[in-house]
Point group: C2
Chain length 501, copies 2
């Protein structure tokens, strides 16, 4: 008889009933042939004494395994390991030494190289990041949100929102956003034109999945929001790049693309081009819409920073001029409130929204109806408007401080234009230096510059990156600039040494 007492460990404080623990341990012994086929198991009385458990517990375990097919019970004869169980070929290591924490898979799968981007790692608090332009979570009105959430949950009728719901998103939030977007962005939409998504990213993802077949093309700027590139590539689109100048995407370049390729969509962040922050001019907006009509392509408009404008009013999106259903307009509340709240929207013709809502069922079934309802109340009560007003004041002050320090302290190294909106500055490094060196030296100052390559997906060597200013307060911006200055002094010294050497 094998040493059952040693092999069957019972955890008396565990989550699992003891009879299940015994059963599961016996399964392991059977699988790894410690208990080969046809082995007779000890009687329940004997095993219960060995293990120090009630006899009924062992009986229950044996019954369990008999139902599952691991054991067979022969009247008058006893309980045996099922003789017809196949040997588990997987058991390269038998007995006790079960391999833990599998590293590699036993099958092939796609590895999409465009997914292999380097993203910021979480690290100690003592480091500072050069970020892409993120908001400051510390300003997020989470207490307001939590209060609304708690009040909702305490209501009896709320159980209706706990079950499976529509893939279009919460009806109340859709209604609220229709009003909000029509009022603030000059849209002219009804409830059929909007679905709630998890941030603008999901809007882009759904749209891309429906837009492209193999060998279809999408046109983007030669500098572009790199996550958009990847989202389109995942959907099997091929990316064509056109110039971006001080007035945004160059429309003549897009026209040329349309003449020679099967262009299914053009991607634009018209309010402030990502990453360079320029605004698409009025005439180009109209031209782009006309071109869309001529060539029947979609315009994917990501209005990621509409709420953040400092020197002038926000500019109406292309979607506000779209009368023939060309624009797929995606936006989000996450960026404005806090990234963790993945609440966004996709606005388009009813037929396109309907298809997106169908597809969404198979992506993650639906959104979080409670959170969506919370945001509906948040917007309706005017909290969103109030929050935007509040952070705008803060961010404009941060932009001004950030840019004035960059100008006064570091103009030998960097050039930039004061951004009229958004949460980042487009900073060009003097071509005497490289971001690679800067990144290395910055690390020594506990300043992390990640992904600088992603701002130049087309390799045009503009030598610029985005520097977010919104997430740091006054003291932090001073600290940030101190580190950046130390970095550049060292980079400069190294350059000098190199030149001499």
């Amino acid at each position: 008889m094998i040493p059952y007492k040693t092999l069957i460990n019972i955890n008396r404080g565990g989550r699992q009933a003891i009879y299940i623990q015994i059963a599961n341990r016996l399964i392991e012994l059977i699988k790894y042939r410690k208990l080969p086929p046809n082995t007779k198991l000890p009687g329940s009385r004997i095993l219960s004494e060995l293990l120090g458990v009630h006899r009924k517990t062992v009986v229950a375990a044996y019954e369990e395994l008999t139902i599952q097919g691991w054991l067979i019970s022969l009247p008058q004869k006893g309980t045996f390991v099922n003789a017809h169980l196949p040997i588990l070929k997987q058991a390269s290591l038998v007995g006790e030494s079960i391999r833990k924490n599998l590293t590699s898979s036993g099958f092939e799968f796609k590895r999409n190289v465009s997914l292999d981007r380097k993203f910021p790692q979480t690290c100690e608090d003592t480091y500072m990041y050069v970020n892409d332009g993120i908001s400051d979570g510390r300003l997020a009105p989470i207490n307001d949100i939590a209060l609304i959430y708690r009040n909702l949950v305490s209501k009896k009728h709320i159980t209706a929102h706990l079950a499976y719901g529509t893939t279009y998103g919460n009806q109340t939030l859709r209604e609220e956003l229709v009003t909000y977007l029509n009022e603030t962005r000059g849209l002219n939409i009804g409830i059929d034109n909007i679905m709630i998504t998890r941030g603008s990213q999901m809007g882009m993802f759904l749209a891309a999945q429906l837009l492209f077949e193999d060998n279809d093309y999408v046109v983007v700027g030669h500098t572009n929001y790199s996550s958009a590139d990847t989202t389109f590539e995942i959907a099997r689109a091929k990316v064509l790049r056109v110039r971006v100048d001080k007035r945004g995407l160059v429309i003549d370049d897009i026209r040329k693309c349309c003449e020679t390729h099967n262009v299914k969509a053009v991607f634009t962040t018209s309010h402030h081009h990502h990453p360079t922050t320029v605004t698409l001019s009025a005439d180009r907006r109209l031209e782009l819409l006309n071109l869309a009509k001529t060539y029947k392509f979609a315009i994917v408009e990501d209005d990621y920073d509409y709420d953040f404008h400092y020197n002038h009013a926000p500019i109406l999106p292309l979607a506000s001029h779209d009368l023939n259903g060309h624009v797929i307009y995606v936006g989000s509340i996450c960026k404005t409130v806090a990234p963790v709240y993945r609440v966004g929207y996709l606005v388009a013709s009813k037929s396109f929204v309907d298809e997106c809502a169908k597809l969404r069922r198979f992506v993650d079934r639906q959104g979080d109806a409670l959170l969506e309802l919370t945001f509906a109340k948040f917007i309706k009560a005017g909290y969103l408007d109030r929050h935007i007003k509040k952070v705008l004041k803060v961010y404009i002050a941060r932009r001004d401080l950030f840019c004035s320090l960059l100008e006064t302290e570091l103009s030998d190294f960097f050039s930039f234009e004061l951004p009229k909106g958004g949460m980042a500055v487009w900073v060009t490094l003097n071509k005497a230096y490289s971001w690679e060196t800067v990144t290395q030296e910055a690390l020594k100052q506990k300043l992390l510059i990640v992904e600088w390559q992603r701002y130049d997906m087309a390799n045009i060597n503009h030598n610029a990156i985005r520097m977010g200013f919104a997430a740091y307060d006054e003291t932090e911006i001073h600290e940030f600039m101190k580190r950046l200055k130390k970095t550049m002094i060292e980079v400069s010294r190294l350059n000098g040494a190199l030149a001499k050497g």
Copy 2:
């Protein structure tokens, strides 16, 4: 001069500053050629008097439009509509009659027929549904969850969770689930083997996207969870069907598929086959794992109802026997707690989890870290265990009532086996009748049977559907059966009339 006062409506209580309202209205007038190129605009004093606003407001609007490129300002001469604006071709309807609520799109997109399933519509409360086996939202511990959530939000350090986070999901929840799954399901995983998803649906979606290239095959049962079929088809896999008998998927059929096709994955709901509720037997589990090793395919195991077992202990998933990284194990907490909380997990080899986490960034960027952290605390505090114990008692009573009424009142029409777990019964309709007729008659009794076709995607005419019992309390189950009985009496009468006629 055009009637500015009539054409420029100002909403003084609106969200937008008045100067922006004036600017946006002028844009419309320019777009639709009410103000053609080169038109001279009235001086700011004149327009301000016409509109009853401060002169500065008009000046600000003009400046705004000049910056955006709609107007040009000539010193000493005045303000003019930019002569170089293209005509917006979209303006099929000019002037006032702007088309609202676009219905059709101006571009082509994919319409995936497999998405065109009919899903239950929300309707009046007086209707009852025949559901697929959903939980009862009224039992959901939402107050516990809201309390934890509120406590979290009140902590200062929480702001760290408001920013962008890892696409693997909240670290604390992953750690908690590793312990939980290892303890309750015999898994042997570490933190590298798990990522948090939005329900098991997102786990399946991510896995499918990575598994299949064009012309790859996935094997499923001839009855199968139809959303899985669709998820695989969206990922361009072709579905092969094999028999399902009283012991689950027929492994010999799968072997034959592997011999003739490029099988990349087999899908199983091993605990209780969806929809028929049978359990995959021990020998077949081992055979399936062996086959996976031989043919290097993935096993996508959706353990959707592991927590719900009534007559015996839950059976360890295939994932607990997987030593070579073949199993992709997806599950969720939503089904157990409430569908609205889209918290699930994907468990696999590290290499596969890593790739899923990369892909997820482009689907919806990340999960809801606050909600994930809430669930980590919910599990750690033992609330999940307690909740499962509580609902198990309720559901077993509902199953017994539901099945006994079905047996005593309706055995002329329906046959079934008592399900050992899950939240639904697999009910076969006497072949003298059709679900089409039953559905029509049931509607008259305010009993909605939707999607009955989806239980027979392979058209094998088993004449069975799932009937969920868990979402209805005792009174409701009686009411449900009353309606079903009335329906069947009428169906029977119609059948008789038809036979005579």
